[in-house]
């Protein structure tokens, strides 16, 4: 079949008004159904005619999937809440500034106005071979084009690769993991709640999916407990352009310091593996240690244990090391004499 791009193929469109209806449709159409949030990931796939669902379930009319509500001492954020709404929410900014920072660095203002938190954490990999329609492992084939001798893999994985070397591109995902967020998932059988950390999966688990969502499942909300409210947060995203770009690597940390020591800390990074990576070994190693350059350096070195760079992404090793270091110690800013 000749390849032609940029014109969306025909499909059956459903625009349910309630979560129940949405879940019902997903159950009914199963594998044939495509869940659409803000459309940023969806329209790429559809307009390129690479993914061809027969049914699209557009969630934009489901009002009960939007909004930011208090829950316990924390928050529940509807999956359809836009990134702009999250950035502008005063409670998120005040208590969970990590998510505020991460959301504000996603893509561009226009994309944040349209893109949703549910979409941002559930989006597909951005590997340019996979997105270009190459029939790779992730697309159901039997090769990883990004891991061949001629492959250009500057933006690919240095950790946890298993056949596929794509990375998870989400900025909010590591922030949510650091905040110990939980994902609320519904399907026809009912509702279940999973830790954010467990929501994301790597190729070893399922090479064609980025999350645990299976046909029929719908991410309805993200809950942020009060465990890390008001903690010391660090988020940094390194990208090629200052706007409208995915991370080369990002880091999110939430920490509570006491008497100059690290009382408790959670650190997660993204852009280095097919899933956001929680650095549990680093957290364990630095807990109770003084918050200083030595601890930060040790954390950075530990973070890159086991990293395996490809031909063009060796820089991600020092980048990950330095960002993890900074997530503890902060940036050593310049003090230029004027």
């Amino acid at each position: 079949m000749a390849i032609v791009r940029d014109i969306m193929p025909a499909f059956e469109l459903f625009q349910p008004a309630t979560t129940d209806d949405a879940v019902g449709l997903l159950a009914k159409y199963g594998r044939d159904a495509w869940v659409m949030g803000g459309g940023l990931d969806t329209f790429d796939w559809l307009k390129d005619r690479i993914k061809r669902p027969s049914v699209v379930v557009d969630l934009s009319q489901v009002n009960d999937l939007t909004g930011i509500r208090p829950m316990g001492g924390g928050l529940e954020i509807g999956a359809l809440t836009t990134l702009t709404e999250i950035v502008r929410n005063p409670v998120v900014k005040e208590k969970f500034g990590l998510l505020h920072q991460a959301a504000e660095l996603v893509a561009s203002p226009q994309i944040r106005n349209q893109g949703t938190i549910g979409g941002n954490v559930s989006q597909d990999a951005r590997c340019w071979y996979y997105r270009g329609g190459w029939k790779c492992y992730r697309a159901g084939g039997n090769i990883c084009f990004a891991d061949t001798p001629s492959a250009i893999n500057r933006e690919h994985a240095i950790l946890d690769a298993d056949r596929c070397v794509a990375v998870n591109p989400s900025d909010t995902a590591p922030a949510l993991i650091a905040l110990e967020a939980q994902m609320v998932i519904r399907n026809r059988k009912g509702e279940r709640v999973v830790e954010a950390e467990d929501y994301f999966i790597g190729p070893a688990t399922d090479i064609t999916r980025m999350t645990i969502l299976k046909p029929g499942d719908l991410l309805t909300a993200i809950r942020i407990p009060d465990k890390w409210a008001g903690a010391t947060f660090y988020f940094e995203k390194v990208r090629d352009r200052q706007v409208w770009d995915f991370p080369l690597v990002n880091v999110a940390s939430a920490a509570v310091y006491s008497g100059g020591n690290i009382e408790r800390i959670r650190i997660a990074v993204n852009g280095v593996a097919a899933h956001p990576v929680r650095l549990k070994a680093v957290e364990d190693a630095v807990r109770g240690k003084p918050r200083n350059a030595a601890t930060a350096d040790m954390a950075g070195q530990l973070a890159i244990q086991g990293a395996e760079p490809l031909r063009y992404n060796g820089y991600k090793v020092p980048l990950l090391r330095n960002l993890v270091k900074r997530s503890i110690r902060g940036v050593e800013e310049a003090t230029w004499a004027s």
Partner: protein, 845 residues
């Protein structure tokens, strides 16, 4: 570095309109969205076309089975290369035939030479139907060996991008004759040639482009205090115009009407005629059969100088189906057919005295030409280098290698940019090695006055430029940028390093010999016809301010007509190579002189005395020293009554046939002023920019911020400050994009592009612009053109790019990068390794 005292520099007289800001006639439509671009037009019964693009980088279509597609309801026609005219010969103004390149593009092909090359077009009632039809077409394609990396192709046994070979051979022209057509041949270098490849040094095997040199290069290098031998690679960058090259066409009464995107309204008509094979009995394009409509163009940068050959696809389809056809070009299609700058791999050996003066340059370049017509960038890189840095001795060698990547075309400062980019890192390095200030080393090598340029001509003499005030631009920059103060600041603090950089840049700044046409009507207004393309530079109206200025007519009483060759436009220059401001301030000057001649003649006829007793000012022609006179409105009325030369019924010789036809159509409406610019010029017109930048690099991430940027332009008399500032900063930004991230990415094994859209090609965003950005212009008139104005579109590119790159090496030293763009990964990996860590010579990474 004593600055020249200002009053020693030439000045222009005070003007009322020239040098002043004004509201351009297209502004409101642009900012309100009312402006209609090609894609915004609709015509009754309009059909849509979509393209089937080659899936392979190099192949041969053995068979196209479109039977299933043609059976679909709503599918009207399919167009293949068999429907396309053969490449037509071109004719020069002197009637010399330039034979068509038999290996040139035809718009569609059965022998694709890059992935994404259009093979066929399907026309249907809507785009969805067309696309579904395309998916039903069965292509039988034979895959052929491909090469996307010029050096891979030059290796022993390396693949060829075309069946005929891998290198364009360019025969030289006999004196006074057009050059014979270039030919493709197979050229392979030896393993020994590639010995230094692994060290990141460009191999220098057999060079096939015509070599040139002047002076004693060997002696210059031998006697130098410092000799640097450096390799640098410039990026392939798509033009990335915001408006893709969409076109819509229909036929009426044997004429084709084409709505397209072009840089040059007047010159696109003959281009389309030639591509369509519409030629008269002398072999000249028959412009009476083509109407080009392009009131607004969303950017060209050299990729749409006379629109695009793709525009003939809807023309031919429209004729075939008997209905208007719209062919919208998507962003991905634009990546393939939208043109790009050819990258140059360059290796330069440069000698310096201990004061930093260049003693000799030995330059070698490998051009990644893409698969089609040989580009001029390689040779131009040497020419511009010879002007910008004035080496007393120089040798240039080059080779033009074909690759299976999208076709290349001139892009802002074509070749000039690459020459600057190859040389500037060497100048910056020499400044560090010799302990000479960066600005000082640029100043001591800068062209002054009627400086020589390029190789010697057939008479053994080198050409020279009209003027150059680069030292003055550098002096202005030192002051405005507070160079010395910044230089004294520390280089490192915390996790950050700082650096400052300067770069100088130059390019062609004007052509001559085009026409002006305007009518002073009995309502007292001046109706100015503009054949200049409206490509966003404002020259479509700016140039005509000269006519108003000279006739003493307020701008509000001037009406500009532009954007359609049906509207009686004069022959105008192609808006490329920064020609227009120069060419058309001259044409506007010439037409104003013609108007003045006619006005004073009419006044003398009616009021007595001789024409030279009269002058024109303040909307009147009147007796010098006061007294009798008449308004322009009265004179226009008299011109109609007098007829003949006065109202356009008799036209001067020497004007272009397009201008003749337009003037004939306007004849009788008032005083018709029409003239060709035949004014003398001594030298080649060039413009110059000095760029200054400061960067702060994050040593832990490799990311950097551009804290400040200043561009100082030596561009002659300022015509329109706001538009000039837009060009200086906008084109600096284009160059900065080359420094910070813009590039192509290819998988060499498959020969396929990975970066095809804005997001992956990474043109800079507004947040990537320098945090502070300023421009200045010297406003020194060029002595070889009446108003003194030169073009500016090109030289800011090299200055913008290389000021940033030189600031980076100031901050980080010489062991970080050997190619552009310089991205965070390049910096961080090299800092980590303590040496340049990114592959130096692999193309498209």
């Amino acid at each position: 570095m004593a600055a020249k005292i200002d009053n020693q520099l030439p000045k222009h007289p005070p003007y009322k309109l020239i040098g002043k800001n004004y509201t351009t006639p297209d502004l409101i439509a642009k900012v309100t969205g009312r402006a209609k671009y090609a894609e915004d037009y609709r015509a009754d019964g309009m059909l849509f076309a979509k393209l089937l693009l080659s899936p392979v980088p190099h192949g041969h279509v053995r068979n196209i089975d479109a039977s299933e597609a043609l059976k679909m309801p709503g599918v009207k026609a399919i167009l293949t290369v068999d429907d396309m005219p053969k490449p037509a010969d071109a004719m020069t103004d002197l009637g010399q035939r330039i034979p068509a390149n038999p290996l040139g593009e035809r718009g569609l092909t059965n022998d694709p030479v890059y992935q994404g090359e259009p093979i066929l077009a399907v026309c249907a009632v809507d785009e969805l139907t067309a696309v579904e039809a395309i998916e039903k077409i069965k292509l039988d394609i034979e895959r052929l060996p491909h090469a996307v990396d010029p050096l891979v192709s030059l290796r022993p046994g390396g693949p060829n991008a075309r069946v005929e070979g891998n290198v364009w051979m360019r025969p030289t022209a006999a004196p006074g004759q057009p050059a014979p057509p270039p030919k493709v041949a197979e050229v392979k270098w030896t393993d020994a040639d590639f010995a230094e490849y692994k060290d990141g040094k460009l191999p220098m095997g057999k060079a096939t482009d015509p070599e040139w040199s002047y002076g004693d290069v060997e002696a210059g290098l031998k006697n130098a205090a410092l000799v640097l031998d450096e390799t640098f690679v410039t990026p392939n960058t798509s033009h990335q115009t915001l408006e893709t090259r969409t076109a819509m066409a229909y036929w009426q009464n044997g004429k084709v009407y084409v709505h397209c995107s072009t840089q040059s309204t007047a010159q696109t008509a003959p281009a389309i005629a030639r591509w369509l094979g519409l030629v008269d009995d002398k072999g000249q394009p028959d412009i009476s059969k083509v109407v080009v409509i392009s009131e607004y163009t969303g950017g060209g940068f050299g990729s749409k100088i006379t629109s695009s050959i793709a525009a003939i696809i809807p023309c031919i389809l429209s004729k075939k189906v008997g209905a208007p056809v719209m062919m919208r070009i998507s962003r991905e299609e634009e990546h393939f057919i939208g043109r790009a700058r050819p990258s140059l791999h360059g290796r330069l050996k440069v000698g310096f005295t201990k004061e930093g003066r260049i003693t000799a340059v030995d330059m070698f370049v490998v051009m990644d030409n893409g698969p089609y017509d040989p580009q001029g960038d390689a040779n131009q890189s040497g020419r511009m280098l010879s002007l910008m840095y004035q080496p007393p001795a120089m040798r240039w060698r080059g080779i033009t290698v074909l690759t299976n990547t999208p076709p290349r075309l001139s892009q802002s400062q074509p070749g000039g940019f690459q020459g600057i980019a190859l040389m500037e890192p060497i100048l910056a390095k020499a400044s560090r090695k010799l302990g000479v200030d960066q600005v000082a080393i640029h100043r001591v090598n800068a062209p002054v006055g009627k400086a020589p340029i390029g190789p010697p001509g057939p008479n053994g003499k080198r050409l020279y430029v009209t003027s150059a005030y680069v030292q003055e631009a550098l002096d202005r920059g030192i002051e405005q940028f507070q160079w010395e103060k910044r230089k004294a600041m520390p280089k490192k603090s915390g996790s950050k390093a700082r650096g400052i950089g300067v770069a100088t840049s130059c390019f062609v700044g004007g052509s001559i010999g085009f026409d002006g046409l305007c009518v002073i009507k009995p309502d007292g207004k001046v109706y100015i016809q503009s054949g200049i393309g409206n490509l966003g530079t404002a020259s479509v109206s700016d140039c005509h301010r000269v006519t108003a200025e000279m006739l003493g007519v307020p701008w509000e009483k001037c009406e500009i007509t532009w954007g359609s060759t049906a509207k009686n436009l004069p022959w105008s220059c192609p808006s490329g190579g920064s020609q227009t401001t120069h060419a058309h301030t001259r044409a506007a000057y010439a037409v104003a002189l013609d108007a003045k001649d006619k006005l004073t003649q009419i006044a003398a006829k009616d009021l007595g005395g001789k024409p030279e007793d009269y002058e024109v000012a303040n909307e009147r022609v009147f007796h010098k020293g006061g007294g009798r006179g008449m308004t322009l409105a009265q004179a226009a009325k008299r011109a109609v009554e007098l007829g003949g030369i006065y109202d356009g019924h008799e036209l001067p010789k020497g004007i272009n046939k397009m201008t003749v036809a337009s003037a004939q159509a306007l004849a009788g409406q008032g005083l018709v002023a029409v003239a060709r610019d035949t004014m003398p010029r001594d030298g080649q017109t060039h413009s110059y920019v000095a760029g200054f930048a400061e960067v702060e690099v994050d040593l832990e991430t490799g990311k950097y911020r551009i804290l400040d940027f200043l561009a100082v332009a030596d561009v002659g008399t300022i015509i329109h400050p706001r538009a000039l500032g837009g060009q200086v900063l906008g084109r600096s930004m284009l160059g900065i994009g080359h420094a910070i991230g813009q590039k192509w990415v290819y998988d060499q094994h498959y020969g396929l592009p990975l970066a095809k859209r804005f997001h992956h090609n990474k043109p800079p965003t507004i947040l990537d612009a320098p945090e502070k950005m300023e421009w200045a212009a010297l406003d020194i008139p060029d002595p070889e053109t009446p108003i003194g104005a030169r073009g500016i579109g090109e030289p800011p590119v090299g200055a913008g790019c290389m000021a940033i790159v030189n600031a980076l090496s100031d901050a980080l030293g010489d062991e970080i990068f050997r190619r552009a763009p310089v991205t965070a990964d390049v910096i961080l990996a090299s800092l980590e390794a303590g040496k340049p860590a990114t592959e130096g010579l692999t193309a498209h990474i």
